[in-house]
């Protein structure tokens, strides 16, 4: 293209890389915009249910989205809150995305997240309150990630040895791990002499993550933002990442090329579980501080949306994690000011996922392009295997 002789290295340099990312995420952007339109129609249609609004108030969607926006990024508190909400979404999103890249559909994020929580809590419970935070916290995070990793390791081993499909085993394991969590807080992790099954508050044991931003911006935000380049580096710059992606794209060819595909399955599931576990551990130490009865999470499933929206690409996952986190952060101010229920955010997330799954943009392009089917199939080979897997 350019007049200068391209060296081998320059062909992978920033502009091309950025253009590639755009190509990758264009479909996601279209899905988001369409979801906003559909959500807007929904808000307008039901505006009559709110006090002081006409039955079809066209201004209301604008006001709601405006409040959502300013709630998410309009103030330091808003930005902090966005980052805090985004942290587990990005970490678990990276876990699910890593699985997608390796050809695995990890639905076990919920259980892995809870194991991360239990792991971190165990460290805080066992360690005395005299131990300083710089020992307790790293140890709690490591054990949380390890326990989350173990929750991924099990379906990994099951798949590698018997071929049991990870979708089935991770869903089943979710139930087991939810109840394992309940057992843990009513048994070994229960606060002594408490009337109900509840754990100790980590703030009383030097276990709370340090606040680095605003009122509640804990340091876990940095871990999430740091994990993005690390996972990217692993996937695209290391031989292990190449093996994972190869096994994910075509496991037969990977086996023929001498890669140990069974080990790769176990490793990918373990890493995915560890990232989801870390999401659980940072949420415990940075936000909730205590496991109360009925503690559960939707992060495992939200992370699937995040990974799909970000096309399994670490940078894309960071962007989509920030988007969904921002929506959560802005939901409260939207509910307060124009009075649109915060649940709208759940609806938007679901609509985004639906538009992603029907591939609006690709269909539209395929219809417009001459000989549509041919160009569409060429497109579909370069996008994340995640979509193919969902389609299967």
């Amino acid at each position: 293209m350019s007049a200068t002789a391209p060296t081998a290295r320059s062909r992978l340099s920033a502009p091309a890389w950025l253009r590639k990312l755009w190509l990758l995420l264009a479909e996601s952007v279209v899905a988001i915009l369409l979801a906003l339109v559909v959500g807007g129609i929904g808000i307008a249609a039901f505006s009559g249910l709110l006090p002081n609004h006409s039955s079809f108030d066209l201004g209301l969607p604008i006001a709601a989205y405006g409040a959502l926006w300013s709630g998410a990024v309009g103030s330091t508190n808003g930005i902090t809150s966005t980052l805090v909400y985004s942290t587990p979404l990005i970490l678990a999103g990276l876990g699910v995305g890593l699985g997608f890249k390796a050809g695995l559909f990890n639905i076990g994020g919920r259980g892995q997240f809870l194991m991360g929580t239990v792991g971190a809590m165990s460290v805080v419970t066992l360690i005395g309150s005299s131990t300083p935070g710089y020992i307790t916290i790293p140890l709690a995070l490591i054990v949380g990630a390890a326990l989350g990793g173990f929750a991924g390791f099990i379906p990994g081993v099951l798949k590698a040895t018997s071929g049991a499909h990870e979708v089935v085993t991770t869903i089943m394991l979710n139930y087991i791990l939810v109840f394992t969590t309940y057992w843990a807080i009513s048994g070994p992790l229960r606060l002594p002499n408490s009337p109900q099954p509840i754990t100790v508050d980590v703030t009383t044991r030097n276990g709370a993550l340090p606040i680095v931003l605003g009122r509640d911006g804990h340091i876990g935000i940095l871990f999430a933002l740091l994990a993005v380049p690390l996972v990217w580096f692993l996937l695209y710059r290391t031989t292990l990442g190449f093996e994972l992606r190869t096994a994910g794209a075509n496991s037969d060819a990977a086996r023929y090329a001498g890669m140990k595909t069974r080990q790769l399955i176990v490793l990918a599931m373990t890493l995915a579980g560890a990232l989801c576990g870390l999401a659980g551990a940072t949420t415990l130490l940075g936000v909730v501080h205590q496991i109360a009865p009925g503690y559960d999470t939707t992060i495992g499933f939200d992370a699937i949306t995040v990974a799909l929206l970000g096309r399994s690409n670490p940078v894309g996952i960071m962007l989509s994690g920030l988007l969904l986190g921002g929506m959560r952060a802005g939901a409260q101010s939207m509910q307060i000011s124009p009075g649109v229920p915060a649940e709208l955010v759940d609806a938007l997330q679901a609509i985004i996922l639906l538009f992603l799954l029907v591939n609006v943009l690709r269909r539209w392009r395929a219809r417009r392009a001459p000989g549509g089917s041919a160009s569409a199939s060429a497109d579909s080979t370069e996008i994340a295997p995640a979509f193919g897997m969902v389609a299967k």
Partner: protein, 520 residues
């Protein structure tokens, strides 16, 4: 019908100045084609020449940028496949469009069902029509059979029956013989002649020279989207057609030269290999290949060749026996250990086993060496070295791509196979295992790959060639081993072996197998 009176002078189908552009390529450049009633018209061209695009235009799957289609002299616009079918055009695709769990009759009527009433199919009527058609054209098909239980050749006949049921006057067959055995090919040719004699027009797409010469009434050669010439089989030769098709003189049979075989390189002794169902499909194979020698394995598919190959490249652990490579025992080595011991491998199904289609070209070129210097240091990949080596291989192996960063899926079959060949051949090898290395390729690519194989042999590599195409085995092997029920039943000299003799050995196993069975 009004068209019938004019049938003798007006072509049944005429395509005038068809131009079809895709971003960056002109797939069809003002193509003219006319097909007469009762004619078998072959469309000959290399992969990617534009044959399939032209037929997609005819079938309404692609809209041309320019040009006109005339049926019986009348211009028509074909908006889609259903439109094409209504006008009597049917297409038999390379990959069949059949529902395996449905019966032959159900597949045939699918999409044009005769209804007894609003709710139920009129099966009786449909079966009657199918039986009549089958009788008229000599199909040996049971309408009640499930399509999934039929052989590939029979499935193809179901596709043709489907077209006839819709009363197709113009029948397009896209590479119909690619999946057939030689005998099935003869059968389909006989059927096509019957259909032509019945007054139907047949467009036969192929890149196999001897086939178009055998079956066509007229041959139109397409190259790079243009019509290069039109010939009658009686007035042309394979060599001329090949030259038209490729654009230069082509050696249809690469001169294999003389083998200067050296010391034994690969020795396989009493190898027992079981398949996935734990059936012992290789019950003790013994063979030897010397350095600088090509051993071709001839055998009907499913006689243990796949398992033998998998055992030799480390994918399948033999249950007994010994494999020695250059004096070193390598029995039971992993694929990577075999690769490092100097074994190269070209799989039969390149898209499934040899390539990651979603990956760029340069990643596929290092699929087996990505972890070694210079492509990696420790766990870090060295993109610069990978790209540099890729550019060099693209050049040297004549892989036709704009850049080594394109996705491998966008390459033609021939170029994809060149990627595999570049990866596997481009290092010193002791043993090269080839499983149908030219399957589905055009003559230009076949010539190129055969040359590379012979060059590798002349460099002192032992080559094991397994192919279901007996012609290929006969053409380049120095020695031919016939495999029957997992055993090597005969060994012949590659230059003097007789095709019919080898064919007989493949089918029966020869005296040795018969004798063994008698004693067993």
């Amino acid at each position: 019908m009004p068209g019938e009176a004019a049938a003798t002078s007006v072509p049944a189908l005429e395509m005038r100045g068809i131009t079809k552009r895709y971003p960056g390529v002109v797939a069809n450049d003002h193509i003219n084609l006319d097909v007469r009633r009762g004619e078998i018209h072959a469309l000959l061209g290399e992969n990617g020449a534009g044959k399939t695009t032209l037929m997609n235009v005819l079938y309404g799957l692609a809209r041309p940028n320019e040009g006109q289609i005339l049926l019986d002299g009348k211009p028509v616009t074909i908006a889609g496949p259903s439109d094409a079918i209504d006008r009597g055009i049917s297409m038999v695709h390379q990959h069949f469009m059949l529902v395996p769990v449905l019966s032959v009759a159900e597949n045939v009527v699918l999409g044009s069902e005769t209804m007894a009433n609003r709710l139920f199919l009129d099966r009786g009527e449909a079966n009657k029509r199918i039986a009549a058609l089958a009788k008229r054209f000599g199909f040996a098909l049971d309408p009640e059979m499930k399509v999934g239980s039929l052989s590939v050749g029979q499935q193809q006949r179901v596709e043709i029956l489907k077209a006839l049921y819709r009363d197709a006057q113009i029948l397009v067959l896209d590479e119909p013989t690619a999946v057939l055995t030689p005998q099935e090919t003869d059968e389909i040719f006989a059927l096509l002649r019957k259909l032509a004699a019945d007054g139907r027009s047949i467009v036969f797409i192929s890149h196999k020279l001897y086939e178009v010469l055998a079956v066509a009434d007229r041959i139109t050669v397409i190259r790079r989207g243009r019509v290069i010439g039109e010939r009658k089989p009686s007035e042309t030769t394979e060599a001329e057609l090949a030259e038209l098709m490729v654009g230069r003189e082509v050696e249809l049979t690469v001169d294999r030269g003389v083998s200067h075989a050296g010391a034994p390189m690969l020795q396989v002794e009493g190898l027992h290999v079981a398949d996935d169902r734990r059936q012992e499909v290789v019950p003790g194979a013994t063979l030897q290949i010397r350095a600088g020698e090509i051993l071709g394995i001839a055998g009907v598919a499913g006689n243990g060749q796949d398992e033998l190959v998998e055992a030799l490249i480390g994918l399948r652990r033999p249950s007994a026996g010994k494999v020695t490579l250059d004096g070193r025992e390598v029995t039971g080595f992993s694929p990577r250990a075999m690769n490092e011991a100097g074994v190269g491998y070209v799989p039969g199904d390149r898209q499934r086993f040899g390539l990651i289609l979603a990956f760029p070209l340069y990643d596929n070129l290092v699929l087996t060496s990505y972890y070694r210097p210079p492509f990696a240091h420790g766990f870090l990949r060295e993109d610069a070295a990978v790209l540099e080596s890729a550019d060099e291989q693209v050049e040297r192996f004549d892989i036709r791509v704009p850049s080594s960063t394109v996705a491998t899926a966008t390459l033609s079959g021939g170029n994809q196979q060149k990627v595999v060949v570049a990866r596997e051949f481009d290092r010193p090898l002791k043993l090269l295992v080839l499983d149908q290395p030219t399957r589905g390729l055009d003559v230009g690519s076949i010539e190129f790959i055969h040359r590379q194989i012979i060059a590798k042999r002349d460099a002192g590599t032992a080559v094991l060639l397994v192919s279901a195409e007996l012609d290929e085995v006969m053409e380049i092997s120095d020695r031919i081993a016939v495999m029957f029920r997992g055993r090597i039943v005969a060994e012949l000299d590659g230059r003097t072996a007789d095709k019919s003799q080898v064919g007989l050995l493949m089918a029966t196993g020869g005296d040795k197998a018969t004798a063994e069975e008698a004693t067993a």
